[in-house]
Every structure is written in C-alpha cells, then in structure tokens.
Amino acid sequence: MKTVEYMKEAERSAAPEKDNLSFGKTVWREIHHDRTAYVSFLLLTTILVVTFVAPLFIDMVEVSRINLSQIYESPSWSHWLGTDKGGRDVFAQLVIGARNSITIGVAITLIAGALGLMVGLVAGYFGGVIDFVIMRVLDFLMVLPTLMFIIVFVVIVPEFNIWAFVGIMSVLLWFSKARLIRSKALAERELDYVNASKTVGTPHWKIMLFQVFPNLSSLVVVNMTLTLAGNIGIETGLTFLGFGLPESTPSLGTLISYAKNPDVMESKWWVWLPASMLILVVMLCINFLGQAVKRAADARQRVA
C-alpha cells in the first residue's frame, strides 16, 4: 500500500507539467472535461464575437432612425427579427444592446471587485481594530435594501449617464465581496511567509499586493465570474424598469421593456422575446463557466 503511494508520489514529481499547471491552464482543462461548461464556452464565445464584431458593420444612424412606414413588421429576410414601434430593426438593437449590457456588466464587476478586494484585504491583513471597524460598517451596509438605493441614486444624481450608472452600481455592490476576501486574508496573515516579509521590513502595501493578493487571486476570479452574471441581470432589470441605462444607450433591458405594453407582449413577440432568451442563455453560460472555474480553483472539486 505504502509503496504504491510512494510510486504515485514519484510519478507526480516526475511529471511536473501535470501538477504545476498555471491557474489559466487548470481552468481550461476543467472546462474541457465538463461538457456543459464546454458548450457554454463555445456558445458564449460565439455570442461575444457576434455582439462585438457585428456593430462594426451596423450603421448606427440607420438603426436609430425612426421609419414609420415599417412599424412592427414581423421577422423577414430584410429584418431578421422584425421591427419595433419606431420601425427600427430589432436584430441590430439586440446586438448593440447585448454589447452594451455585457460591457457594462463587466465594468461593474471589475470596479466592484476592486473595491471589495481593497477593503477586504486591508481589513483581513491588518486585523484588530481596523478589521473590527470595517466589519461593523460592512454589517450595516449589507442590510441596506440595495436595489431601492440604486434606484433612488439613479433618480437623484444630477447628470445621469452611463458612467454615473456604473459608479452607482459598483459602489453599492461590493459589500459581500469584501467580506469574502477579508475572511481569507485573515487566515493568510497568520502564515509564515507574511511574518517573514514583515521581519525583513517589506512595507505592508507590498506584502498585501504582491504576496497575499496572488494567493487570493483564484478566489477573486471565481467570485467575479459568478457575480458577472448577477450584475448583468441587475442592469437589464433596472433598465427594464426604466431606471437603468439612458435611452441613448440601448441595453437588452430596453428591448424587454417594450413588453410592458400588453399588445407588444401578446402579439409582437419578436421585439422582446429574443432579448429575454439571449439574457437567459448568456447568464446560464456564465454560470456554468463560473462553476468550472470554481472547481479549478479548488483541487478537491476538480473533475479533470
């Protein structure tokens, strides 16, 4: 029994490329071995390529021009997904809306992630009084009715534009991330390498940024992938209610909000249904990929 284990050990060290894979390669292997994740990956890549390449060939002026002679046309060869109440092509709006929604979702995830990471690292690394104060503030922020606050801010901000929207969302969506990072950083700070660095006299910010952070990075990546889907959902939902992206920047939520008109909902399915389905597919894909990334980050859960 023992010998077998030793042999396995030897085998492992003899094949370093299998065990010392970078995080990116592990993720890739995990995706490759999970059929759902693999399909999600292919589907999402296709959607991304289409939504980011197609707008280069779409004439924005032509798309936003109101054409009263072709209101609510059903899908045809000239208009793949028909037209809306202004006679505008729905497919073009779908592509541009998807691009905007995804870009903004990513931006919010990155900014909120950075905020959460910073606060969480500081609280966890320093511990003690700093940690106590930050955690009490976080306890409070976590019980705020976030969605209501976002809507209120959207309405009272004097000059509302995309940047204001991204700012408001990011500022109100990092609390749980900070908490997660803090709990891991708290464990990390007890380890020898941190103490060693402190003894040598490395400044705190360097230890946090270049030593503790890399050890938390897989956790951050996992959390960000999973929240990306949620953030896209919140953005499109707010836009659907009328408190999200301004008219000038259509989102997937804009198309879906046309369904608030019962007539559109009942008999003009091509206006709102494709956008709804696209959101559903994108969110499912991101979630399945997120699960694969999560497994890759935790050696015990890996499939491959």
């Binding site: 409070f140 705020l144 209501m148 309405v155 939902g237 879906i256 009942e266 499912l284 979630n287």
Partner: protein
C-alpha cells in the same frame, strides 16, 4: 443566551438610526420639499410668502432639529403627505401593505413547499438522476433574472393559455367579503407567487442538499443504522432533525430577496402593492412616499436579519460567540 440576544438587539439600534440618517440626507437631496409640493399649481405665491411658509414649517431650522423632528414624526406614524395622491403617506401605505404581505407570504410558503422536498430528495439520493435534475433546476433558478422569468410566465400562462388574469390583485366586479372575492384574489395571486417562488428556492435546496450529504456520513448516522433503525427513520429522526432547523432561521434573511423581488413582480403583474407604489412614486417624483418606503424596507431587513441571527443562535449554539 440572553446576553447574545441583548447584544444582537443592541446592534440593531445604531443600524436603524444610521439608516434613518442616510435616508434623511437622501430625502434632502431629492428635488422639491414639503413646500414646493403643497403649493403645487399655485403660481401666485411670491418668494417672500414661500420663505415665510418654509419658516413656519421649520425648513429653515438647523439639520439636526429637522432630522429629530422628522424621525419623531416617523416613529409616531406621521410620514408626511404624498403630493401626487394628496393624502397622508401612512394611509397610502396601509392600503397597499396587505397586498404585498399576502404576496410575500404566499411566495415564501410556496418556495419552501417546493424547496424542502426537493432538497431532501437531492440529498438523500445524491448522484441519482433525480438529484441531477434538481441540481439542473437549481442552476437555472440561480442564473435566471427574476424579471425575465416573470415576463415569460405571464406570456405563457396569462397571454398564450389565458388561464390566469394578466394583472391586478382582484376582479373589479368581485364584492369585498364574498366568496368570489377570495377566489378572485387567489386566482390573481397564482402567477406572481409562482414566478417569485420558483426562483427563490435555490438557497434552501442547496443548503439542504449539502447538509444532508454531509450529515449522512457522520458517525451518529452510522450508529443509528448499525442499531437497525429503518432507513426511513434514520432520515426523519436523525438527519432531518439536524438539517431542517436552520431553515427556519433563514426566514429573516429572505426578506431582502422578497423586497427586491416585489419591485419587479408587482410592476410586471401591475399588482397594487408596495413594490409597485415604489416604482410609481419614483417615476412621479413623489419623494415623501419614496423615502418612507425605503425606510420601512430597510427597517424590515434589519429586523429580519436580527431575528434570523437570534433563531440561528438558538438552533445552533456554536454561533453564539461572544
């Protein structure tokens, strides 16, 4: 035990005060004040008169005086006037609270009725096809945005099959108190409740499944089996007893979900509750109603979280750390 409860309740007070302070500041930042609403549509009021009214209403007092007056009135149930509806906010809210409460309660009950059996099945027959199906449903309910799902449900069961009403909370013809009234009310509740409940199950299912999978490998379960206790009773008396209790505690945490959910659900099904009122008031810039609603929701979340923490500490003594 008692110290924990007292301590937990003590935390709540500064939280509530801080919340009220933030909302007060936001309310001040919202365009328009009590005067501009009251003189709406009266162009004859001069600037001096306006100043005078303002002074009388105490709008020129220092902020802390205004804040304490606002908070005092609020606690006593005077939340100001709605300028759009021209009636006290308290009356306005009272008329809608019942509807939202009913919807939230129905959503909670239905979601537990779905989640608890599914969680138990998935945990007990871990890795079976039923488990895989349930896990698939869980992925779906985590990923799907509530408003998309609610719209699809409304489209399929309301518009396409025409089985359920498209909006509102009760038939206009139904008389209050009659049997038809109750039936119509229930009929209107079905779609909003289902669309909310089907997506609210994820947390409970995931918790139950993981907990049962973990518990069933523990020594006390092996002992129970070794003693010859039938498998069925191993589950009901030994495993579920441990796993089900914390679910009662999660109730308070669900309030946050229910509040944000009601905003979408009530707007989509034009259900006359607090969530719909919030969206309407924001759109018509009726800010006294908005700040009252945010304050009430915030307080509900704070109290709910506290209750959850306390119940959880009773159920699971390990949490009672000092």
């Amino acid at each position: 035990m008692l110290t924990f409860i007292m301590r937990r309740m003590a935390i709540m007070i500064p939280q509530l005060l801080l919340l009220s302070l933030i909302i007060f500041v936001l309310a001040k930042a919202m365009p328009g004040d009590a005067v501009s609403g009251a003189i709406q549509g009266n162009p004859d009021v001069s600037a001096e008169q306006l100043e005078e009214i303002r002074g009388k209403m105490g709008l020129n007092d220092p902020w802390y005086t205004q804040y304490s007056r606002w908070l005092g009135d609020f606690v006593q149930g005077d939340m100001g006037m709605s300028y759009v509806h021209q009636q006290p906010v308290t009356t306005l809210l009272a008329g809608r609270l019942g509807n939202t409460f009913l919807l939230s309660l129905a959503t909670l009950i239905v979601s537990y009725l779905i989640a608890i059996p599914l969680g138990i099945i998935a945990g007990r027959w871990h890795q079976s096809w039923a488990d895989k199906l349930i896990v698939g449903y869980n992925y779906f309910s985590i990923a799907t945005p509530l408003f998309v799902f609610a719209l699809l449900v409304l489209f399929v069961f309301g518009f396409y099959f025409n089985w359920f009403p498209l909006g509102g909370s009760v038939d206009i013809q139904a008389e209050g108190g009659s049997w038809e009234y109750v039936v119509s009310k229930a009929h209107h509740l079905v779609l909003p409740t289902l669309s909310g409940a089907l997506l609210a199950t994820a947390g409970t299912i995931q918790y139950l499944r993981n907990d049962i999978i973990e518990t069933k490998l523990k020594d006390f379960v092996k002992t129970a089996r070794a003693k010859g206790i039938p498998e069925r009773r191993v589950y009901t008396d030994h495993i579920l007893r441990n796993s089900l209790l914390p679910i009662a505690a999660f109730l308070g945490y669900e309030i946050t979900l229910l509040i944000s959910g009601s905003i979408f659900i009530e707007s989509i099904y034009s259900y006359p509750g607090l969530g719909q009122l919030f969206v309407q008031s924001i759109s018509t810039r009726d800010f006294t109603v908005v700040s009252a609603l945010v304050m009430i929701s915030g307080a509900a979340v704070i109290v709910g979280t506290m209750l959850s923490d306390i119940i959880l500490s009773i159920v699971d003594p390990r949490i009672r750390i000092e």
